[in-house]
């Protein structure tokens, strides 16, 4: 994960760049097509694409004689990483709570809750 959150935020801090990304959501596009779709010049689009590329938000690929730009999934990976860390923390919290419960059970067995062995020795439950 080379991209820092700062680089991503800087890249997204520009309205034209966000517009470029939105246009790319539908699929890969060439610079010329993007320039036609937006109220900016072709060199300006190229400039913005360079910033987006540096932030790893878009990647370019060559298809025949054309150079196409498409959304990079790294941004999505940042979202993924957040959730991964979130669930790691939450499940760790859960494990700590469960361990405390198990510990409390050992210290103070609830009435009626016995081990299988003890139940075998005791009166038979009518099941």
């Amino acid at each position: 994960v080379a991209t820092s959150a700062d680089a991503v935020l800087d890249a997204l801090g520009d309205r034209t760049r966000r517009a470029i990304l939105e246009n790319l959501l539908a699929g890969p596009l060439a610079v010329g097509v993007l320039a036609d779709q937006l109220p900016v010049s072709r060199p300006a689009v190229s400039q913005h694409l360079r910033v987006l590329k540096d932030a790893e938000l878009v990647v370019e690929s060559v298809a025949g004689t054309r150079r196409l730009y498409r959304i990079n999934q790294v941004g999505l990976m940042a979202v993924r990483d957040y959730f991964d860390r979130f669930w790691e923390t939450t499940l760790d919290n859960f494990a700590i709570l469960a361990a405390a419960e198990a510990e409390a059970d050992k210290r103070k067995p609830a009435p009626g809750r016995t081990t299988a062995k003890r139940r075998d020795r005791g009166r038979t439950d009518n099941k």
Partner: protein, 164 residues
């Protein structure tokens, strides 16, 4: 053509706990308040309670310390003590959106010797990619997803101290 955007993005995590299958299920679903990270409140105030209504179609919500309720999602499958599927319906703009669904499937497996494994899978995360602008909200939100590691470190430390 766009196989990439069609590909599912998910995270999976597992944990093993020293409790029976039914008790693990009960602890996870009925006492979420006690292990949900405190900073992960979606509402306007800190949460007092995290509630999963124990039935299919039930709501999954937080009740704030101010008494207000803020829905997070709903119960897609309720199959005690083995499985619960919750829908996390909070968009990256931190608002409940009934049309936005990501799925949190939690399965519980008896490992024997009084232990139970919890497998959690949060899928459909690619749906957050539909609006790049939303990513910003995740990073920027004051109650954002940072700081939970710090909290866990503290918890783990206090837990270790108790054991000494």
């Amino acid at each position: 053509m766009s196989t990439e955007s069609a590909a599912g993005v998910e995270v999976a995590r597992s944990v093993s706990v020293p409790l029976s299958l039914p008790r693990t299920f009960e602890l996870f679903t009925a006492r979420m308040t006690e292990f949900w990270p405190k900073e992960h409140s979606v509402g306007s105030s800190e949460f007092a309670e995290v509630v999963v209504e124990p039935r299919p179609g039930g709501r999954w919500f937080e009740r704030g310390v101010d008494g207000g309720e803020c829905q997070w999602g709903s119960v897609a499958a309720w199959d005690p003590p083995r499985k619960v599927v919750l829908l996390w319906q909070i968009g990256a703009d931190w608002k409940f959106d009934p049309d936005f669904e990501t799925e949190v499937e939690v399965t519980f497996t008896d490992e024997g010797s009084g232990r139970t494994r919890v497998d959690l899978c949060h899928r459909n995360l690619e749906r957050y990619g539909d609006a790049t602008e939303q990513m910003r909200a995740i990073f920027d939100h004051p109650n954002g997803w940072t700081g939970t590691l710090d909290r866990f470190a503290e918890l783990a430390k206090s837990h270790a101290t108790q054991q000494d």
